[in-house]
């Protein structure tokens, strides 16, 4: 019994790739329906998918891919024209396939019911092309009588040919061959056998006809007349080199016998019947396959292993660095034994250089191109355009930009949200666009690029933008007080929890989850979200994300007797303030900053630390959700690159710490979650 479980991960990875490729290519096909190269590409990917799922014994998936592939075959042969209707059907299949793959990944058994509806549709298409005759032949293939060399009919002309050949020293044989019943591609199989025979002689007659044979339109048996100078034994040997033959008979041609076509006299058993496998077959292979498909449930943990593909050159480099590291470690050892301080110092320098290089490299290895997420969007926008009956296109730029894998995999949800928003609320109907003198086709542009230590992702549409007046009305109808709000502030209400500007809730967006959820997600990833909008010109979202999550620049501080780290990216500046500068107004402590007042956050109080020193403090001005806060600490320790370590979930639930980090001297410091602390403070007030 084959154990396919070890291939599962690989299967999923390659299936995902092939499905994505199919999605991309089919999308392209819709705009270039005549592109035969593309159809070939598509066919190939579908084919690979089918081969892999069949090998894994996932019958349901194989069945669907097979039927879908037939469609591509029709495109290829020109029997069917590529229309948007078929494209949609194919997309349905692809979605279903992704669903099946997902089920398999979760160790769920697949059932035929999952695909029956789609199969029906596909078969309808097939029947419209082929008539109803498809695959009828196979159904009648169960009668297995005895293999005989009696020919149903043959022409006198053939007998003449045989006679002439015999006169020239040829032998004439009747050959009957039964192919394994489970043999697939019978046509080529028969063809191959005949091809082998023809290398040593001539096949002058076949039953059924050569055409039917090549198309595989026969059950298991076929017969032929063969002229050759070889002996019977040589002919038998020639046939025997072929695989997947059940039985065969070679016999001298007897014109008298075959002429009498109705006489179904079974042939004597003695004639070299090769019982490669006995006729009553072993249980059918389908039983075996059912078992196969249930085996993966034994490996639930393997499925959840996350994997990442790494550029081989990066791994090679990794190995090089590690070997270098080993060299210097040995040198250190050696120098240490000899107590050679100078050499210890030299080697240490090398080791520290190598460590930083390794650190950089590991970060790079964790990097993944944003195309992983972006690649599904063109398809999504196409579907959205259909659904909303709007004309629009998505332009994607900078797909090759890399981000940490964790960030990339979390990115898709917020981006989908923003995209749906743009398509639904942003892009206007063709009519309206015309009115404003815009091209009828709307454009959404998604681009990614690296900027220093961060990656910017922008999503820009040329739609109607956000009207502050509409926002105002909408806000007021929801009971939000808008008096004195500037246009900018009105527009930013869109990030207000639960706020949705859609007049009516459509299927596409506005399901009650507002942009605040997107904002929260991006913040979770350590990034920021900004929006620029201009009425009737368009809206642009800018997402800024850190390159990596696990190593950050931090400001180390001391509060009371404890050390903490504050992520540097939220820090705007640090100022020294005296206790007397803090103003208390209506239960809130504020401090003057840039001609305004900003809330003061006493870390010691928030964390419940007793703090004796009260005179001079450092106020770390941080920006959280577009607002400044002054976070008070006792002492600045300095700026440092720290590695974020996960903390216990119980501590995490306090919602005050992002994680922890370990200092060079082995002590541990908690990393303050400044955003959570500041927002928490706001809620309190």
């Amino acid at each position: 019994m084959d154990d396919n479980s070890v291939y599962r991960n690989l299967f999923f990875e390659e299936s995902d790739d092939n499905l994505q490729k199919l999605n991309d290519d089919v999308l392209e096909l819709e705009s270039e329906p005549e592109n035969i190269d593309l159809i070939n590409e598509i066919f190939r990917a579908a084919h690979t998918l089918k081969g892999m799922s069949a090998t894994m014994g996932y019958n349901v998936m194989t069945k669907l891919t097979h039927k879908m592939e037939n469609l591509f075959d029709f495109f290829k042969s020109g029997k069917l024209k590529v229309t948007s209707e078929y494209i949609s059907l194919i997309f349905e299949c692809l979605d279903k396939l992704s669903e099946l793959v997902e089920d398999l990944r979760n160790d769920q058994e697949l059932s035929e019911d999952q695909i029956s509806e789609l199969l029906k549709k596909l078969i309808n298409v097939e029947e419209s092309v082929n008539g109803t005759a498809t695959e009828k032949v196979q159904n009648t293939s169960d009668k297995t009588g005895k293999l005989t060399t009696i020919l149903e009919s043959n022409e006198d002309a053939d007998i003449d040919v045989v006679k002439k050949a015999k006169a020239q020293g040829y032998n004439a044989f009747v050959v009957a061959i039964r192919i394994d019943r489970e043999s697939m591609l019978k046509g080529p199989r028969a063809f191959l056998i005949i091809e082998h025979l023809e290398q040593e002689g001539d096949v002058i007659y076949t039953e059924p006809t050569a055409d039917l044979l090549e198309n595989g339109e026969f059950n298991t048996d076929f017969k032929l007349i063969y002229l050759t100078k070889n002996t019977k034994e040589q002919v038998e040997a020639n046939i025997d080199i072929n695989s997947e033959i059940d039985t065969f008979i070679v016999e001298e041609f007897d014109s008298a016998k075959s002429a009498n076509s109705n006489e179904h006299k079974p042939l004597a058993e003695s004639v070299s019947a090769k019982p490669t496998e006995s006729t009553p077959k072993k249980p059918k292979s389908s039983d075996k396959k059912e078992k196969k498909s249930s085996t993966p449930s034994k490996h639930p943990s393997a499925a959840r292993n996350q994997s990442i593909r790494v550029d081989l050159t990066r791994l090679d480099l990794f190995l090089n660095l590690v070997s270098e590291l080993v060299v210097y470690r040995n040198q250190l050892d050696d120098a240490n034994k000899r107590s050679d301080a100078m050499e210890v110092k030299d080697s240490l320098e090398q080791v520290s250089r190598l460590t930083s290089e390794l650190q950089d490299l590991v970060l790079k290895i964790r990097m993944q191109q944003v195309s992983v997420v972006f690649s599904r969007f063109p398809r999504m926008v196409r579907d959205l355009a259909k659904e909303l009956d709007k004309d629009m296109e998505l332009i994607v730029e900078g797909e090759e930009t890399e981000l940490d894998k964790t960030v990339v995999s979390e990115l898709s949800e917020p981006l989908i949200h923003l995209l749906r928003n743009s398509a639904d609320h942003g892009i206007e109907s063709a009519e309206n666009r015309k009115k404003f003198g815009k091209p009828e086709k709307g454009t959404i542009k998604l681009s990614a690029y690296q900027e220093g230590n961060q990656v910017n992702i922008t999503l820009e549409d040329d739609g109607m933008g956000i009207d502050p007046q509409v926002m105002k009305e909408s806000a007021e109808s929801k009971g939000i007080d808008t008096t004195g709000m500037t246009d900018d502030e009105l527009i930013n209400l869109i990030f207000h929890p639960g706020f949705s500007t859609a007049k009516k809730i459509t299927n596409i967006s506005g399901r009650g989850v507002g942009l605040d959820a997107v904002m929260a997600k991006i913040n979770d990833l350590g990034g920021s979200l900004e929006m620029k909008t201009e009425l009737h010109v368009g809206t642009k979202f800018v997402i800024k994300l850190p390159l990596t999550l696990s190593i950050i620049q931090a400001l180390m501080v001391r509060v009371a007797n404890e050390s903490f780290a504050i992520p540097l990216d939220v820090v705007e500046r640090v100022v020294v303030i005296q206790e007397k500068e803090i103003i208390t107004s209506m239960d809130r402590e504020v401090v003057e900053y840039q001609e305004g007042l900003i809330p003061v956050i006493r870390v010691d109080k928030v964390l419940g630390l007793t703090n004796e020193e009260n005179t001079k403090q450092f106020a770390i001005v941080v920006k959280s959700d577009k607002q400044y806060f002054a976070v008070l600490v006792n002492e600045l320790i300095g700026q440092q690159e720290i590695v974020i370590k996960k903390i216990d979930t119980i501590i995490q639930k306090l919602n005050k710490f992002q994680g922890a980090t370990i200092f060079g001297n082995g002590s541990i410091a908690l990393i303050l979650d400044v955003n959570a602390i500041c927002q928490g403070k706001l809620v309190e007030n």
Binding site: H47, K50, G51, M184, S243
Partner: protein
């Protein structure tokens, strides 16, 4: 001595699967190639006893590769790997000198029988 096989398939998955079948049955996998050009180059380099050749591959497909290999070596033994629905291409491969073909999904017995016969 174990017979040496060159496995050609664009899917890593298929190559692993085939390698597993072969190695468990006393064959040695001399090399793997992921497309037709690669197959041709590696054939020249390792001179295997037999090649298993996937038909559908990007760039240079299995049939082209078969022709290239057969052109350079009359005695090259190439077994094609195909899936259902590739009758036409299998026929073409046979005409171009493929010794046999095996059909996916691979059944261990069938694969080994085909290879044994091809090498006998």
């Amino acid at each position: 001595m174990a017979k040496r096989v060159l496995i050609v398939d664009d899917a890593v998955f298929m190559r692993m699967k085939l390698r597993d079948i072969l190695e468990k049955n006393g064959y040695e996998v001399a090399e793997e190639a992921e497309n037709g050009q690669d197959a041709f180059d590696k054939y020249q380099a390792v001179k295997p006893d037999l090649v298993t050749m996937d038909i559908t591959m990007p760039e240079v497909d299995g049939i082209e590769a078969l022709k290239l290999i057969r052109n350079s070596d009359d005695n090259a033994k190439v077994v094609m790997c195909s899936a259902m629905g590739q009758q036409g291409m299998v026929m073409e491969a046979i005409r171009a000198g493929a010794v046999d073909f095996i059909v996916k999904p691979f059944d261990t017995d069938r694969v080994i029988k085909a290879l044994d016969k091809a090498l006998s």
